[in-house]
């Protein structure tokens, strides 16, 4: 069923491209570039499930990524688990946490929910900063020996890259699958009019809970891989509020609701961001430009790039989802 969707193959092609390009010629700097884009796509795609599909704005989405990084890193280093196993367990643990958070805050609507998600982010950051086993505000560091299990530091960098590309492909495939499923239709109904959806038979409480928990899984897994690759984690970089918000900018830019929108917005924004941060004159204005971009999109093009594209070529909706 999902194999019939042409976009599925487009996703695989993109992933293949991401793997082939830096591998061919052993281009390490390209790999480092692309890994950031991949992480952005992972975060934006999973955030899309909440914002684009269900209409619930999650301002604190990054908390899953950071928490996943912590749990996974802890399991991989202190507990000596295999990296992939650690990542998967981290994914499950963080999804469970999301489920619990959801019990408290999913009953809130619209803006109240959005504000509450910021609270969750700050609360978790606060907690982790005071949590001994995870190094409190200093965080955790990886020694070089940890990479031996993956064949040394150099090799480990490539392995984690492939793993992250894998998660990226999975994120996009997940978005695609949900979009074309009965579950996804229920989410869209909730987004359009939650009360009407309930009267039509959608169990909104359960659906919201599921999508919130599911949207936490892959970012958590990616968090484990990414922080493992970076060799360190601390509360300020794990729970960077800005990254959460940039996720929203990416979605709005690319076009919320569309799978390609998340990817496009993430890719473009990430490029813009790295350009701004490295440019000597403009790095101070990174926030200003991002804010300005968001404002323009919200005021004049709320459908984002994909919205504009679909209006241009309505037939494209079927292929580029």
């Amino acid at each position: 069923m999902i194999l019939r969707r042409p976009f599925f193959w487009i996703i695989l092609a993109i992933a293949a491209l991401f793997i082939y390009l830096p591998l061919h010629g052993n281009n390490v700097s390209l790999r480092e570039d692309l890994i950031l884009v991949a992480i952005a796509i992972i975060l934006a795609s999973n955030l899309n499930l909440m914002i684009g599909y269900t209409g619930y704005v999650n301002f604190g989405h990054i908390v899953f990524y950071g928490l996943g990084g912590y749990v996974g890193l802890y399991l991989a280093t202190v507990r000596g688990l295999n990296l992939v196993a650690a990542a998967l367990i981290a994914g499950v643990v963080v999804s469970l946490c999301a489920f619990l958070f959801g019990l408290a805050i999913l009953r809130l609507r619209g803006a109240y929910f959005a504000l509450a998600t910021i609270g969750i982010l700050q609360a978790v950051q606060s907690f982790v900063s005071n949590f001994d086993p995870w190094g409190r505000s200093t965080g955790m560091y990886l020694s070089f020996e940890s990479y031996q299990s993956l064949g040394g530091a150099m090799h480990a960098l490539w392995v984690t890259y492939y793993l992250i590309i894998g998660v990226m492909a999975l994120s996009m495939i997940l978005s695609l699958a949900v979009k074309n499923s009965k579950f996804g239709l229920g989410l869209f109904a909730i987004r359009e009019d939650e009360d009407a959806a309930v009267v039509l038979g959608v169990n909104a409480t359960v659906y919201k809970s599921i999508v919130y928990s599911v949207s936490a899984f892959l970012p958590a897994v990616a968090g484990t891989f990414m922080f493992y690759k970076n060799g360190m984690i601390d509360p300020s970089i794990a729970f960077e509020y800005m990254l959460s918000l940039e996720g929203i900018v990416m979605l709005m830019l690319g076009g919320q609701g569309a799978v390609m929108g998340a990817a496009l917005g993430a890719g473009l924004y990430e490029k813009l961001r790295s350009y701004l941060l490295t440019s000597p004159k403009l790095s101070d204005f990174h926030l200003v430009i991002a804010g300005g971009l968001l404002l323009l999109v919200v005021l004049f093009a709320p459908g984002g790039l994909m919205g504009w594209f679909y209006r241009l070529l309505p037939r494209a909706r079927e292929v580029v989802e």
């Binding site: 408290a104 809130l108 204005f285 200003v288 991002a290 804010g291 300005g292 968001l294 919200v298």
Partner: protein, 287 residues
């Protein structure tokens, strides 16, 4: 025990300023159902405005509140037309994002100008000593200023024509328009007042504690908690809820590390949202 009592009274004083800070947020939210995410940035701008004015003219800082309010009104009009006008009436997400975008821009510019270094307004008013307790003069003065402004706002909303028009628009925009009230003008004024209040509270805070361009965020959080507790659009409700929050902080700070306070406040925020859908004093618009 005496330490806690002093802390509590101080908390009440500072809480009045929290209440003032919340009034701006609450007014805008109540009148046009927009959650102003520039609130924190405006508070921070108010802090810097006071700093700049005081460097230019070192006198009674409290007189400088007036020009700060003026700047706030102008800024408010600008921000309204830039980011709110087009999205009033559209889904809440849009105004959240547009005001948030402006917030990002203001913080970005602010960081470019002032970086994230701490600043200070070196102004002190004679304190008050009652027996064993000494109360910082600045705190008392700030609380008094907050009270005065709240009274002025209450008078404005209930005794002037424009104020009544604002309350009418908050109640039912269409009906108000049918009565001949230009809702765009009213919304602009209400928003401008909201921003002016935010900046003024920031200006007061600058006389109490050192600050950076990022300090607004903490006060924004407190404003949200106060607004949710108090319900929308009621200046005195906000003041009282602010005082209660300050009191809570006063009770808690002697015993817990400062870094836990935001956590507690957000816990309170979520609990208040879930347990008091109507706010404690007034109405809360459906989100």
């Amino acid at each position: 025990m005496s330490g806690v009592l002093a802390s509590m009274i101080d908390g009440v004083l500072v809480g009045a300023v929290y209440g003032l800070a919340a009034m701006g947020l609450s007014l805008i939210w109540g009148v046009m159902d927009v959650i102003n995410l520039t609130h924190g940035a405006m508070i921070a701008l108010g802090m810097f405005a006071m700093y700049l004015l005081y460097t230019l003219h070192a006198g009674t800082a409290y007189l400088l509140l007036l020009p700060v309010m003026g700047v706030g009104l102008l800024l408010g009009i600008m921000v309204y037309w830039m980011s709110v006008h087009r999205v009033v009436g559209r889904p809440m997400l849009m105004s959240l994002l547009s005001t948030f975008a402006v917030n990002m821009m203001v913080i970005g510019i602010g960081t470019a100008i002032w970086s994230t270094s701490p600043y200070n307004v070196n102004y002190s008013v004679q304190g008050l000593t009652l027996g064993a307790y000494t109360f910082t003069g600045n705190h008392i003065a700030a609380a008094l200023a907050a009270l005065l402004i709240a009274l002025a706002l209450q008078w404005f909303l209930y005794r002037t024509r424009t104020g009544k028009a604002i309350r009418a628009v908050a109640d039912n925009r269409e009906a108000a328009e049918l009565m001949g009230i230009s809702s765009t003008a009213i919304l602009t004024i209400a928003f401008a007042i909201g921003i002016a209040l935010a900046m003024t509270s920031g200006a007061l805070v600058s006389t109490l504690f050192p600050f950076t361009i990022l300090s607004g965020a903490t006060y924004q959080l407190k404003s949200f908690v106060v607004t949710i507790l108090a319900g929308l659009g009621k200046p005195f409700g906000a003041l009282i809820a602010g005082v209660l929050l300050g009191l809570l902080e006063g009770v808690v700070t002697p015993f817990i590390a400062v870094s836990w306070i935001p956590l507690i406040e957000f816990g309170l925020f979520v609990v208040a949202l879930v347990a008091f859908p109507q706010g404690i004093f007034g109405k809360r618009a459906a989100a």
